[in-house]
């Protein structure tokens, strides 16, 4: 009985990654986030494409973390972790959805400008 408590190899549900998986997860996540940063700094995509590309990169980063860091799969041993992840999906949709809805409406009501690109070129105190 004793001993099995402290030996992670005997517990698939807490046995997460190995050194290689951690390193791979770290590199892939940093690379994906870095790519998103570069895309943002270059300003050379249309707004819609930009949102899609950055969203896609974020999804990939999430996936690589889930798989490489947490070793998440659909096996029985991982059930609590995979179910928890799935349970956050509705929360994600609700919060992001409501946020989009309120800012959409706010924008229409308060930000009507002849040329909305003008807003992006205003100088700020930080400059």
């Amino acid at each position: 009985m004793a001993g099995s408590h402290s030996d992670p190899l005997a517990h698939p549900e807490v046995r997460m990654g190995g050194a290689m998986r951690y390193i791979a997860g770290f590199i892939s996540t940093v690379a994906l986030m870095g790519a998103a940063l570069i895309v943002t700094l270059r300003h050379d995509m249309g707004y819609e494409t930009y949102v899609e590309v950055v969203g896609g990169l974020a999804a990939l980063a999430l996936l690589s973390q889930a798989v490489l860091f947490y070793g998440l799969d659909i096996s029985r041993a991982q059930i609590w972790k995979s179910v928890s992840l799935i349970l956050t999906v509705p929360l994600f949709i609700i919060t992001v959805g409501l946020t989009v809805w309120m800012f959409q409406s706010l924008d229409q009501r308060t930000m009507v400008m002849p040329n909305s690109a003008a807003a992006a070129t205003q100088p700020t105190l930080l400059q």
Binding site: S6, M102, Q122, T124, L125
Partner: protein, 691 residues
Amino acid sequence: MQVHVPGPWSPLFGRLTLDQIPYNIPILQYTFAGAMLAAIVVVGAVLYFKKVGYFWREWLTTVDHKKIGVMYIVIGLVMLFRGFADGLLIRTQQVLANGPNAPGYMGAQHGFLPPFHFDQVYSAHGTIMILFAATPILTGFQNIVVPLQLGARDMAFPYMNALSLWLTAGAAGLVMLSLFVGDFSAAGWVGLIPLTELPYSPSTGVDYWMWAIQISSVGTTLNAINMIVTIVEMRAPGMTWFRMPIFSWTTLSTNIIGLTAFPVLGVALALLGADRYLGTHFFTAGMGGNLMLYTNLFWLWGHPEVYFLILPVFGILSEVVPTFCEKPLFGYVTMVAASFAIAGVSWVVWLHHFFTMGAGPDINGFFSVATMLVGIPTGVKVFNWAFTMYRARITYTVPMLWAMFGLFLLLAGGLTGMMLAIPAVNYTVHDSVFVIAHFHCMVLLVVAAAFAGVSYWFPKVFGFRLDESWGKAFFWTFSIATLIVFTAMFALGFEGETRRLDWTFNTAWKPMLVVEEIGMILYVISLACFALMLVFSIVNRKKNAAGPDAWGTSRTLEWLTPSPVPFYNFAVTPQVNTRDELAWRRKHGLDKAQPEHFEAIHMPSNTGMPFVIGMLAAVWGFAMIWRIWWLAAISLTALIVCVIIRSFYKNEGYHLQPEEIAAMERDLALGSVVSEQPDRSHHHYSHVEAH
């Protein structure tokens, strides 16, 4: 990419210079003298009685959930005291600085606090009360009580539990340090945007606020994970979901909120940090930034956070009320359902904190209705407690008095919350002190439940009850003070006093401001009663000694253990037969049954690593605040190295031998939380593999 900061900066000390020490401000001189005196007394006592080793071995390195809980509550109470001192300063300034002819002292034009200092005081007050007083106190109760209620040996992850505590402690230390080195944020506890941006708050105040919250909320998030896993995995045999005590249920629901909400705060503050440190424009007024995105993210966490505070309070009430009504809780299943309904709804109401943003009638209408929906499960709970008390044999002990006062505050706070949830009403009283009075009813309900919990569970941890008469004196002075201060504050809200005024310009407010100040004086008296209660309780501890069931009418599993509860909790893991297990055993005459023999218990070893990591996190926060990059790099690297080293520990723990358990069960003082334990590391598990 690094942002240019105003004022001097040197590679060695960052922004830190000698004139960042505010030695010329009289209030801070007194505070500093007081703090030093307290430190000398405490450190002196520890040295004089040669207790350094004891504190290190038994407290700073402990992984015992009860000791960790006690330390959480002590930190919370110290911060509650600090926050109260801030509140006293705010109230005194507002009553002194009333009207154009109000005299000024100590360099202030009116009153005694100049605006910039006053703004720091209320910002610190709110931040401290919510994040460093209420949160740690409630976390402390969950730590102490939940494993006991579930029949568990400890939390699921004892090491991570200690880590959560020391992260919180380190962050609280940073907040306190801002008194004497630099300054604190002057932008409110919510971080009013764009005030928190570097051009508007160029000093390190906002950085103290931001990093202290970041560090402590990592601790809170880890603790939430720990609590959830403990409840899911560590229940004693027979403890099915619907036999679980309500406090454990509310702990589960509240920590689901904690786990999902705190990362949002982390993101909001990280983006703000990017603006302040890297020159990005997430929340600026131009360059594609949007101020309201910050407000949105903050309240996306902020509203769930207020329910994160209130749900454990509902749990405490649900334990205290049945005990002193000598009846099972009315409507157990609806209580569970209501807790989860509240947790769920708390995620879709956050816009009610910024109705005045102008998102439009559809959106304000949606969030108004959603907010009011919270009233349904809350109403269910209130009726459940009322029906529990209906025709019951109520004993008016100190915990019960606090619980009943709590119900009153819940009603006052809940109904005014409903008023605020109506956008038309909200537009007229938003940012007035009416809002302040509303939420103080709610957060003082948290305080009331905290004191209910302290007096209720104190005998379980320390083996004796708190002094009843001083406890009652404390209760009455405190609750009457609350009524005086906040009734007057509701009135001032209707008279149009806006919040956060360093100068109360309208002389018509004077009478109510004076009433508030009278209430504050009564609060000070109540503090004296609290101190006397502690002194007399310790003096009379023999007389107030408690048996396993300290109140004689308790119902849940924690009261099956001896008082003071030994560090291994249950000598033999209990087999649970029903809901309200202890009440059931008492009825069947089984509550005094003793096991025939003991078996060795596997315990985790203490470790200093969480303490070291918590302190490194605080050093790292300090370095980031003052932009001392070399120190930040070293402390962060050291922290990560510690985490990696620790993850290679086997931590095999040790085995507590049956003879030792038997001895400690005979003489409870041997195993209590304050006792010193011999070194048992030689009882390595491999020697007793036979078990």
